[in-house]
C-alpha cells in the first residue's frame, strides 16, 4: 500500500514542494491536501496586481483542478485542520479525519491585528488572501485607511488608489518603511505616494475604529479622525503555529525545524512562513522555495540541507522604484555610504561591515540593485572599489555628486532674490543678455544688490546659465553640504521644503542625518519659515533647548523662571525659595539679565521643579534659548526722579509679546527710562532709551565675547510705534539672518540702511513683518515647562533603568 502524506495549507511553499515531489517520484505518495481557504494554490505575490486591476484571479492560479486530479491529490479545500492526533497519526478538520504516515505543516502566517476597539467590525481586513483583496477592490470612490506603512501596507494603498479610492496611510514610525529606508529616502517615497493622491500620516498611533454596523472611521491617539469605509491592517505577520502548539510540537517564534525541515516529531515536517529555522523566520518566498526543494528530497529519503541565503525585496507599487536587500538592523562596526541625486529623486544607501556589503537600499534608480545584491550575497571584499562603489558597476571613475542639481531643478519663476523679487528666469535672461559678472548682474537686475544673502544662489544660477563657475563658490554650511546658510534658507522657501529629511534629500546632503551643526540650523530655519506647519524637532536642538535648562559642567542644570521686565512679587520669591530648598539647590544667584538663577538641579528633578514653579504662576525664562531671553529694565518714571517714560512698563509689554520666540541666536533687550541708561540698554541686541520726546531705538549691541555698542535705528514719539518697530526688526532678523549670527553680525552683512528701509521707512513692510511675527507667536508663545511636566513626560527625565539596584539584590 502507498504511504499517506497529508499536507496542511495549500500555499506557495507547499505547492512548490508538491511539484518537486511529483516531478522526482510520481506516485510515491498518496497525498491529501487541506486548505483553510476555499481554493487551491495561487501566487500570493500577485494579489497586488489583482488588487490594482492589472491581473485577474484566474491569471494567478498556479495549480488548477486538472493538476490536482492528474496527480491524484485528495483536495479538502475550505476545511481548516483543527487538531493533530500525533499518537494515532490522524489530522482532523471539522468534517472528519485523515490518517498520515508523514505530515507537512505549511500554514503560512497570520496577520497581526492591533487590539483596538472596533477591530472586529465588518470592513476591517488584513492583506493576506483573496477575500481581503476582493474587499479592497470594492472601494472605488470610497474612503480607505491603511494602517501600516511597510511594504505590504503601501502595496494595499497603491492598489486601492488605482481602483479610485481615497486612501490614507497611517504609520506609527516617523517615516515610511523605516526598516529599509532612512528618513530621507522615506520622505522621497512619501512624496511619490502623495503625488498619486495617497495621504500619509506618520507618527500616527491608532486608538480605535468607529462604526456601528461596519467600520466608518479611524481615531488616532493625537485626536485625528479619518473617515474609512474600509480599514486595512498591514502592521505585520506572525507564523501561524496554533495547531502545532496544540499538538505540543516544539514552537518558538515559529515551528522549530532542523536542516531537513523535520519538527520535533520525526513524522511531522513543516515549511514556509510558519517555521523557525536556526532562530530565523521567513517572510519572502525565495527561501521558502529552497525549503520546498529540500523537503521534497527529505520525503523521498534523500539527504538535503536547507541553508538560508540573503533575500531582496522590490516594492511592487507601480511607479515607485524601490530595491531593498539585506540587513539594516543594529550592530557594531557598521558604516553607511549614501548617494543622493535630488534633481532626479534618486537615493542609494549601502550598509557596510568589514568592507562587505550587508544592506542595500535604492530608490528612484534601481538598475544596479542586482549587482550590489550579488556583491552582498557573495560577501565580496569591496575595499578596493570603496570610493566609487556607490556609482555602480559602470562607473569606476568617480565624479562627485553635483551641488548645482538643486538650483537646476528650480522652475524659472522661483524667486532667487527676495529683496528685489528677481526670479531664476530673469537671472538666466540677464546672463543671456550679457551680464556675466556679479556686478553686472547687480546693476541690471538688482539681484543680490540689497541684503546680499542670496549672493551664493545668484552665482549658482549664473553658473548654470554660463555652464561653468562664475567665481569661487562661498563656503558651505557644514561638511554635509556645499550650500551656504543663505542658499539653504532661500531654497527652503522657494522649493517649499517642510522637513529636515526633505531639505537633506532635495538639497543633496552628503551625510545620513546631518551633523550637530546643520541640524539645529535647519530646525530653526524650518520653524521660522513654516511656523504653522513645521513641528519643532527636539532631537535637532542643543541640549539646553531640548531640556529647557542650561547644562552645567558637572551635568546638572540651572533653572531660571521668567520675571517680566525684572519685576517680581513676594509670593513668587517665596515659591522660588521653596523650590530651591525642596530640590537642594546649591546656589541661588541673580543673573546679569535681572532674573534669579537656581543652579545645580538634577535632570530628573527638572519637571517636578517646573510643576512647582508653574503652580505659583511662574513660567520658563528661556535663559537657555536661541530666542528671546530677557528684557532688562530700569525703574523709569514711576519711581525715578529723572525718568521720562514708563521703561519698566514698556519692558514688560515687550517681554509679554516676545517671549517664547526662537531667533537665530540669543536675543536680549533693554529699556532705560532716561539717557543715564541704568538698564545698560546700549549693549543689548535691541535697546530702547527713553527721552522727553519719546523713544530712541538702537540695535546691534553685545556684551559677550565681542563688546559692542548699539547703533541708532529709529526715534519715535509713541510707545506703540516703538513696539511695532522692535517686533518688525526681530522678525526681519528671524527671517533673514544666518543661524548663530547675533544681530550685530547680521547687521554687518546686510547693512543698517537696508534694515532701516525695511522696518522704519516702509510702513507696509513693517506691518507685514509684525503680522508674520504674531503668526509665529500664536504657536510658540507657550510655556515649555507646562508642556513637559505632565505625567506622561515626567518619567522620561529619569534614567531608563537602574541596574545598580539589581546588583544589590
Amino acid at each position: 500500500m502507498k504511504k499517506k502524506l497529508v499536507v496542511i495549507g495549500a500555499g506557495m511553499a507547499s505547492g512548490r514542494m508538491l511539484e518537486h515531489l511529483f516531478d522526482a517520484a510520481p506516485g510515491a505518495w498518496d497525498v491529501t491536501l487541506f486548505n483553510a481557504e476555499p481554493r487551491g494554490n495561487y501566487n500570493r505575490l500577485m494579489l497586488s496586481p489583482v488588487l490594482s486591476g492589472e491581473k485577474t484571479y484566474d491569471q494567478i492560479v498556479t495549480h488548477d483542478d486538472a493538476w490536482y486530479s492528474a496527480h491524484g491529490v485528495d483536495c479538502r479545500f475550505g476545511e481548516p485542520v483543527v487538531r493533530i492526533d500525533r499518537k494515532n497519526r490522524v489530522v482532523y478538520s471539522n468534517s472528519g479525519g485523515a490518517p498520515y504516515d508523514a505530515l507537512v505543516i505549511a500554514t503560512g502566517s497570520a496577520p497581526f491585528i492591533i487590539p483596538v476597539p472596533g477591530k472586529d467590525l465588518p470592513g476591517v481586513v488584513a492583506y493576506r488572501d483573496l477575500e481581503d483583496t476582493q474587499a479592497m477592490m470594492d472601494t472605488a470612490g470610497k474612503d480607505a485607511v491603511v494602517i501600516g506603512g511597510g511594504l505590504l501596507g503601501l502595496e494595499a494603498a497603491a492598489g486601492m488608489a488605482a481602483r479610485g479610492a481615497r486612501v490614507t496611510v497611517i504609520h506609527l514610525m516617523g517615516h515610511l518603511m523605516e526598516r529599509q529606508l532612512d528618513p530621507a529616502a522615506g520622505y522621497l517615497l512619501q512624496r511619490d505616494l502623495e503625488k498619486r493622491g495617497i495621504a500619509v500620516h506618520c507618527k500616527g498611533a491608532t486608538k480605535a475604529i468607529f462604526g456601528t454596523d461596519r467600520a466608518e472611521a479611524v481615531l488616532l491617539e493625537d485626536g485625528t479622525v479619518y473617515p474609512a469605509d474600509l480599514v486595512c491592517m498591514a502592521v505585520g505577520i506572525r507564523p501561524e503555529t496554533r495547531i502545532a502548539v496544540d499538538a505540543h510540537l516544539e514552537v518558538e517564534r515559529g515551528i522549530v525545524v532542523d536542516d531537513a525541515l523535520r519538527t520535533s516529531d520525526p513524522a511531522i515536517f513543516a515549511l514556509g512562513e510558519c517555521v523557525e529555522h536556526r532562530g530565523q523566520v521567513f517572510g519572502l518566498v525565495a527561501p521558502l522555495y529552497d525549503q520546498a526543494k529540500v523537503l521534497a528530497q527529505t520525503l523521498l529519503g534523500a539527504d538535503a540541507v536547507f541553508a538560508p541565503v540573503q533575500t531582496a525585496t522590490k516594492l511592487k507599487v507601480t511607479g515607485c522604484d524601490l530595491f531593498s536587500a539585506g540587513d539594516f538592523a543594529d550592530g557594531p562596526r557598521r558604516e553607511d555610504i549614501v548617494f543622493r541625486d535630488p534633481g532626479r529623486g534618486i537615493y542609494k544607501r549601502l550598509v557596510l561591515e568589514n568592507d562587505r556589503i550587508i544592506g542595500v537600499v535604492m530608490y528612484g534608480d534601481t538598475a544596479d540593485g542586482a549587482w550590489f545584491y550579488g556583491l552582498m550575497k557573495d560577501g565580496t571584499d569591496i575595499g578596493p572599489m570603496r570610493d566609487t562603489l556607490i556609482f555602480g558597476p559602470a562607473f569606476q571613475g568617480g565624479a562627485a555628486p553635483d551641488p548645482m542639481a538643486a538650483v537646476a531643478a528650480l522652475p524659472p519663476e522661483a524667486e532667487i532674490c527676495g529683496c528685489n523679487g528677481v526670479s531664476k528666469g530673469a537671472i538666466m535672461d540677464a546672463v543671456a543678455g550679457g551680464a556675466c559678472t556679479l556686478d553686472a548682474m547687480r546693476s541690471c537686475t538688482k539681484a543680490s544688490a540689497s541684503c546680499g544673502t542670496c549672493t551664493g544662489l545668484v552665482q549658482q544660477v549664473m553658473a548654470l546659465a554660463l555652464g561653468g563657475a562664475v567665481q569661487d563658490a562661498p563656503e558651505g554650511m557644514c561638511k554635509c553640504t556645499d550650500h551656504t546658510h543663505e542658499d539653504v534658507r532661500r531654497l527652503i522657501r522657494s522649493m517649499g521644503l517642510k522637513s529636515i529629511p526633505a531639505v537633506m534629500q532635495d538639497l543633496g546632503w552628503r551625510s545620513v542625518g546631518g551633523c550637530h551643526s546643520c541640524r539645529p540650523a535647519l530646525n530653526y530655519y524650518l520653524l521660522a519659515e513654516w511656523p504653522l506647519e513645521y513641528r519643532d524637532d527636539r532631537q535637532s536642538r542643543f541640549v539646553n533647548e531640548r531640556n529647557h535648562a542650561n547644562i552645567q559642567k558637572d551635568g546638572t542644570y540651572s533653572v531660571v523662571p521668567r520675571m517680566w521686565g525684572g519685576v517680581t512679587t513676594p509670593a513668587e520669591l517665596r515659591a522660588i525659595a521653596d523650590a530651591a530648598e525642596k530640590y537642594d539647590v546649591p546656589m541661588v544667584k541673580v543673573t546679569g539679565g535681572q532674573r534669579i538663577d537656581l543652579l545645580g538641579v538634577r535632570k530628573e528633578d527638572l519637571p517636578h521643579m517646573w510643576a512647582d514653579l508653574n503652580a505659583a504662576g511662574l513660567v520658563s525664562g528661556h535663559a537657555y534659548s536661541k530666542g528671546l531671553r530677557t528684557v532688562k529694565t530700569c525703574v523709569g518714571k514711576e519711581f525715578c526722579r529723572v525718568g521720562t517714560q514708563d521703561s519698566t512698563g514698556l519692558g514688560i509689554r515687550l517681554e509679554k509679546l516676545m517671549w517664547g520666540s526662537w531667533t537665530p541666536h540669543k536675543l536680549k533687550l533693554g529699556v532705560s527710562g532716561c539717557p543715564r541708561n541704568c538698564a545698560e540698554a546700549t549693549c543689548k541686541d535691541i535697546g530702547v532709551v527713553c527721552v522727553d520726546s519719546g523713544y530712541n531705538i538702537s540695535i546691534g549691541g553685545a556684551a559677550g565675547m565681542e563688546v559692542r555698542e548699539t547703533v541708532p535705528l529709529a526715534s519715535t514719539p509713541s510707545e506703540d510705534e516703538t513696539v511695532q518697530i522692535i517686533l518688525a526688526v526681530t522678525q526681519l532678523y528671524r527671517e533673514n539672518a544666518r543661524y548663530l549670527d547675533r544681530i550685530w553680525k547680521w547687521m554687518g552683512k546686510v547693512g543698517l540702511d537696508w534694515i532701516r528701509a525695511q522696518v522704519v521707512d516702509d510702513l507696509e513692510n513693517r506691518a507685514a513683518l509684525v503680522e508674520r511675527f504674531q503668526i509665529s507667536q500664536s504657536v510658540y508663545r507657550r510655556d515649555p515647562w507646562a508642556d513637559l511636566s505632565t505625567p506622561s513626560e515626567t518619567p522620561k527625565w529619569a534614567p531608563l533603568a537602574d541596574l545598580t539596584l539589581e546588583a544589590a539584590e
Binding site: R179, R333, R334, G513, R519, P520, R538, L800, L803, T804
Partner: protein, 111 residues
C-alpha cells in the same frame, strides 16, 4: 557568550535621542538612531566628562554637548582630529524591547 537583560522598550527612547542607564560601572547612555538601531556607550566624554547622552545623534555618531567632540557609536572612537574613546557595551533590540549586556549588573568590571 553575552547574557542580556531587559532595560525597557525601544519606544522609551526618542529616535535620534538617548536615555541613561545607571549601572554599577557608572552611567551608560543608550542611543537610538533615526532608523531604530541602538547603541550603548559610557556616558562620559574622555575630554572633560561631558554627558554624551545629551549630545546630538546623527547617523551612527554622537556629538558631545560640551565641546563638540564627535564619537562613532559603533566603535566608541573619537572622530576627526580628536583622540580618545569611550567604552561600548553589547545591546540589542528584540521584539521592541531593549536588551543590554547583563555583566553591567555586576559590582565592578574587575571583580
Amino acid at each position: 557568550m553575552t547574557i542580556f537583560v531587559d532595560i525597557g522598550s525601544l519606544d522609551d527612547i526618542p529616535a535620534q535621542g538617548a536615555r541613561l542607564v545607571k549601572t554599577a560601572q557608572g552611567c551608560v547612555a543608550v542611543f537610538r538612531t533615526a532608523d531604530d538601531r541602538v547603541f550603548a556607550l559610557e556616558d562620559r566624554c574622555p575630554h572633560k566628562g561631558g554627558p554624551l547622552s545629551e549630545g546630538i545623534v546623527h547617523g551612527t555618531s554622537v556629538t558631545c554637548p560640551l565641546h563638540n567632540w564627535v564619537f562613532d557609536m559603533n566603535t566608541g572612537q573619537a572622530q576627526g582630529a580628536d583622540q580618545g574613546m569611550v567604552c561600548t557595551y553589547p545591546v540589542k533590540v528584540q521584539e521592541g524591547r531593549i536588551l543590554i549586556d547583563a555583566s553591567l549588573i555586576r559590582r565592578s568590571a574587575a571583580a
